[in-house]
């Protein structure tokens, strides 16, 4: 069955993306390309603009200028649900699930792929019933894949944090995405859960051939999963390349670890005198590369 690999997703090209929030420049002429079928990590200290970038990619936020192209489609002009219809799915940094069971949440992901409207759902017309059944089966597959099989009919409100993160991932997968945007998929998870999540990401990418854009603070995970890394700092792209290149890039080290005191034109010995963004918070370096 899995012999027929779906056609590779179109490349996702971000060019000169600028987002301003009332004077604050959240993204400043950022550009990168997610090559088809790769895992592209977006890293940077807190406040670097990673989530803003995701919001633009998924249509939740309108940029001041710049473009995001998926194949021939310009995404910055589309409403979020249209972007979802093109096969771009995302998860959220803070879990956003809706009421109901895991199944209900996953079926929400099937919304764009199903058709039943108010009338046919109200009257339980045969095609609506059939559609529901088929798509429920597919949703269950994704639940199994993400390790939620046993929790399929459990209300989401009763799930643990890690499980709800998985619900988000499974729900995004239910859109049958070509591009998957994962916003900190393993934040707050323990080692085993992280491994499992990484495994899921690797599997869906291999079997479904989709592109993954990953925002993550867990450098170990980024280095293991990513084919390419883009580093943002204060809304600017400061480096990009393979994980190896990025790891040794002086600009990246500067952003994460601060400037060595001797190289600083205005030396400041007190640690609190370093720019706030340059002082890595604990969350930034949970597991150093």
């Amino acid at each position: 069955m899995s012999a027929t690999v779906p056609p590779p997703p179109p490349p996702l090209t971000v060019t000169d993306l600028t987002v301003r929030f009332a004077g604050l420049v959240a993204l400043d002429a950022v550009g990168f390309t997610v090559r088809p079928g790769t895992v592209h990590a977006l890293i940077g200290p807190n406040g670097a603009g990673k989530s803003t970038c995701f919001n633009v990619l998924s249509g939740v936020c309108r940029p001041a200028s710049g473009s995001v192209r998926l194949g021939e489609h310009e995404l910055t002009r589309l409403a979020p649900h249209r972007i979802a219809g093109l096969g771009v799915a995302r998860t959220f940094q803070n879990i956003v699930t809706t009421a109901g069971t895991v199944a209900d949440n996953l079926m929400l992901g099937r919304h764009g792929l199903t058709k039943a409207g108010f009338a046919s759902a109200a009257l339980r017309l045969p095609h609506a019933v059939r559609e529901q059944r088929t798509h429920l089966r597919r949703a269950r597959e994704f639940a199994e894949l993400t390790g939620l099989g046993a929790l399929f009919d459990t209300p989401v409100g009763l799930l643990s944090y890690g499980d709800r993160k998985r619900v988000e991932l499974a729900r995004a997968l239910c859109l049958e995405p070509r591009v998957l945007l994962l916003d900190e998929p393993v934040a707050g998870m323990n080692g085993a859960e992280r491994d499992r999540m990484a495994e899921v990401v690797r599997t869906v990418r291999a079997e479904l051939g989709l592109s993954v854009v990953l925002v993550e603070h867990d450098m170990g995970l980024v280095m293991r999963l990513a084919d390419e890394v883009t580093v943002l700092d204060f809304g600017r792209r400061i480096a990009g390349g393979t994980p190896e290149q990025v790891r040794n890039d002086p600009a990246v080290l500067r952003a994460y670890l601060g400037t060595p005191a001797t190289a600083d034109p205005k030396p400041s010995t007190a640690p609190d005198a370093t720019p706030p963004h340059a002082a890595p918070s604990g969350a930034d370096q949970e597991s150093p590369a």
Partner: protein, 403 residues
């Protein structure tokens, strides 16, 4: 985690509701339906009339609950759509008016209410939550103004008579043809009772299906998180206005049935207070629950009427104008359900439906669900799960995304 095997706690799902309660539900439902069907044989017309009002209100409350409980939108304009349904039916089926056959007029009245809701969609699609409540307030006053002034249609201040309901020559609002069931003469109340029961059953069935189906999930997503809904592919504005239209259609049906039960409709009935009554119904009954809406509607509608019936037996409450008059039954009922709302909000936020639904929290199949517990990650390795097969997506749905 190489030692996964000893820690594999993910057992297959167990039935989470006890079998007894699952088996009991249809039984209880059947018993309830049978009881309701048999009631006209025993109850006198007064009680049937109360029941009829309750059923009509229940249909409207179901509609409002789809909007408020389902999509998280507040409407204070429900009375307006009830009025559209009521006057729509009265005009379409009666004189002056086109005098259409009653069933057709009923259907058209429902559609008319839907159209009225649709005309409001530029607002209802964009404005969210409590702000929509404020916006819909205007509808009630506009509606009232129109009802008073469009005399050729509405009959003005004194209202208008409502055309009788006839289906294939069988009158639901009169004695034609004579009908005697088990020795009980079936008059207007008895006949309308069954009409109301049928319409309520349809409303219940459709609303429940909507809530459980694709539109219900989309509405719930819009209610819980607009952003999540939109990135999952739900057109938020379209679902907001669709929920409003559907809710208006239920209100229209409810209004038409109320008109039939009253036999005469007047503008003052469809005021702001009526809208608030409907909100009280769904809050008391439980937001988002169809059964709750019906229970809440029965409570709010029947309470003043029952209290009026027993006014002389109740302390404090008496008929207006009586000696030492303190508070009339209608006001007393209003105080009571005001108190009921407070009690519900404080002690049973799920309303009557929530109280019924309350059972022991569903047990997780896993012993240690916390994110910090290593056992939580000890699920079977991925290779053992079913493989994800490439998309069975109809090409038409994905066409646009391909280069």
């Amino acid at each position: 985690m190489s030692d996964r095997t000893p820690l594999t706690p993910r057992t297959p799902p167990t039935p989470r509701t006890p079998l007894t309660s699952r088996a009991r539900r249809p039984l209880l439902a059947t018993a309830g339906v049978l009881l309701l069907c048999a009631l006209p044989l025993y109850a006198e017309a007064y009680w049937l009339q109360i029941g009829l009002f309750a059923m009509a209100a229940a249909i409207g409350a179901i509609g409002l609950n789809l909007l408020s409980g389902g999509a998280g939108q507040l409407s204070l304009g429900h009375a307006f759509f009830l009025a559209v349904g009521a006057y729509g039916y009265a005009w379409l089926a009666g004189e002056p008016g086109p005098g259409l056959p009653a069933p057709l007029a009923l259907v058209l009245a429902v559609c008319l209410a839907g159209v009225a809701g649709g005309l409001f969609s530029p607002v209802s699609g964009r404005v969210r939550g409590i702000y929509l409540g404020v916006a819909t307030l205007a509808l009630v006053f506009i509606g009232h103004h129109v009802m008073l002034n469009a005399e050729s249609v509405t009959g003005g201040y004194n209202g208008r008579a409502v055309a009788p309901f006839e289906l294939f020559g069988f009158s639901f609002t009169g004695q034609d043809p004579e009908l005697l069931v088990l020795g009980v003469p079936f008059g207007a109340e008895e006949r309308l009772w069954y009409l109301g029961l049928t319409l309520l059953a349809v409303a219940w069935f459709t609303a429940r299906n909507i809530l459980r189906g694709r539109p219900g999930r989309a509405m719930a997503a819009v209610r819980d998180s607009e952003v999540a809904a939109s990135v999952m592919g739900v057109p938020v504005a379209r679902y907001r206005s669709a929920a409003f239209v559907v809710s208006s259609m239920y209100a229209g049906l409810s209004g038409a049935l109320i008109a039939l039960a009253f036999r005469r409709i007047v503008p003052d009935y469809f005021g702001l207070v009526l809208s608030i009554d409907y909100l009280a119904m769904i809050v008391i009954g439980g937001l988002g629950s169809v059964g709750g809406a019906v229970a809440g509607a029965a409570f709010v509608t029947a309470l003043p009427l029952v209290m009026a019936r027993y006014a002389d037996a109740l302390p404090i409450v008496d008929e207006p104008g009586g000696p030492g008059h303190v508070v009339g039954p209608t006001e007393a009922a209003r105080y009571l359900y005001g108190a009921a709302i407070i009690v519900v909000l404080r002690y049973a936020p799920g309303g009557l439906a929530g109280l019924l639904r309350r059972r022991p929290a569903r047990a997780r199949p896993e012993p240690s669900p916390t994110g910090t517990d290593p056992a939580a990650g000890a699920a079977p390795p991925l290779g053992t799960g079913p493989h994800v097969t490439p998309l069975p997506v109809p090409s038409a749905q994905r066409k646009e995304s391909r280069p």
